[in-house]
Amino acid sequence: MRVLTALSLLALAGLLALGVSGVFPRPELPSADEVAAEWGAENVVAAIILGVRLWDTLFEILVYAMTIVGVKLGLRLLRWERPLPPVAETPLLRRSADLLLGPVVVFALYVAVSGHLGPGGGFPAGAILGTALLLLALAKGVERLSAEIHEPALEWAEYGAIVAILALAGGLLLLGRRGSGYLVAANVLIALEVAIGAWVVLHRFASSRGEV
């Protein structure tokens, strides 16, 4: 077993070294400005999103939504009646959560809004927002947070976001609209959907502990 582990580690290290060594040729790329001009977009990132990545994201969102529905249905079948022990509050965690929550949410919004022009986009923004929610859950306890943020409304917001994303992305792809305002709206909706989905999955797992 040890020999196997050592061998696979060596193989991994070799792969990494090969990857960064420049042995593999890089494909010739067209100039960035040409691509942007071809799509009539602000820059090459927006052009790539319009041309390729939007399809990608569309199916990502569909898979993600299906996963969440699966978790909800699957965990509903497993009953849990044992009440959860309340999580003790630690002052250190609560203070740091208070301090970090604002910056994290603002950064998530920035990543979502600027996602069509640079690195970022809806999915990472949603993951960052989800992290902010998890931070709150760690500081306050999952059940208390769930009661505070009114989960059923949240779930309806999520369904609404999925429908809006599908409509928006489908419209963009079929009609070929090239306004970046649509991309910003799509990214914000995607961020919302991913964040709520992360929260729902976490809550279901946390409240059915040990019974799976």
Binding site: V20, P124, A127
Partner: protein
């Protein structure tokens, strides 16, 4: 260059995470590994992927592991079953030491899980990192190689003689040190008592708590008792778990100060 350095760091952190015995350190290792991987992506000119890797791998996954750890982290106790101190009562564990251990578990946010083993196995399991705390009337020996808590209950080592024959004790127990060279060891106190009753051995060395139990239940009628010196029951803690020992000592000191320990002793031992 930065890519090669960060790749090496990624590998090193993965190995670090795999080799950690404490789950918390393992989770921290996995988080740091994700962050280093995000750095690799960044320097390979993929800031988009780096951002997602940092948000999902370092943020979400680490937080979910932390939350799970906080809810399900276990405090594993290995113990020899010792009736008034720590024993199985139907489906539950009961006893004086259980009262203290369950309080410790609540304080550390960890569920206490008790595994029944023989006395001789306790130090080995603790040293191997298979368990966190050793209990069940633990009388420390010098060469056990474990960390010890404050004394819990003072007791005495007693040799009881019932008839002719060799001397016996429980293997691995402190009392084994008091035995002469040609003597017999048994796996637990129940076997020792039955050997003494059947006349297999003539003399047994044990702690006062067990001897008192044997005499009170009429299992053993000693003709002569000999005092073997003072000792105290303690908890044994795995060598790497300094924070568990500190929490345990603080709890014991607090129980002693508030008189709760005396109440527990009066209730369980009398």
């Amino acid at each position: 260059m930065a890519v090669i350095l960060l790749s090496a760091l990624t590998l090193a952190l993965a190995v670090f995470a795999l080799t950690q015995r404490r789950l918390l350190w393992g989770v921290i290792g996995v988080g740091a590994h994700s962050l280093a991987l995000a750095g690799v992506y960044l320097f390979l000119a993929a800031p988009d992927v780096a951002l997602t890797q940092a948000a999902v791998g370092f943020g979400l996954v680490t937080f979910i592991y932390l939350l799970a750890l906080r809810r399900t982290g276990k405090l594993t106790v290995v113990a020899a079953e010792t009736p008034p101190l720590l024993h199985q009562d139907g489906e539950h564990v009961a006893g004086l030491e259980w009262e203290i251990l369950s309080r410790l578990g609540r304080q550390l946010h960890r569920d206490v899980e008790v595994l029944w083993v023989t006395r001789a196995e306790i130090p080995r399991l603790l040293r191997a990192g298979e368990a966190d705390v050793g209990a069940g009337g633990y009388l420390p020996r010098t060469d056990d190689g474990v960390v010890l808590s404050r004394p819990l209950i003072p007791t005495r080592i007693v040799a009881v003689r019932c008839g002719p024959g060799p001397c016996g004790a429980v293997a691995g127990d402190r009392c084994q040190d008091c035995l002469p060279a040609s003597s017999v060891t048994y796996e637990d106190h129940r076997e020792l008592a039955s050997a003494l009753r059947s006349g297999e051995i003539g003399e047994a060395v044990a702690d006062l708590l067990h001897v008192r139990q044997w005499v009170l239940s009429g299992e053993v009628q000693p003709s002569e008792t000999k005092d073997g010196g003072e000792a105290a029951f303690r908890f044994a803690v795995a060598p790497g778990e300094e924070d568990v020992r500190q929490a345990l000592d603080a709890l014991l000191a607090e129980l002693e100060r508030s008189g709760e320990l005396a109440r527990l002793i009066a209730r369980y031992i009398g």
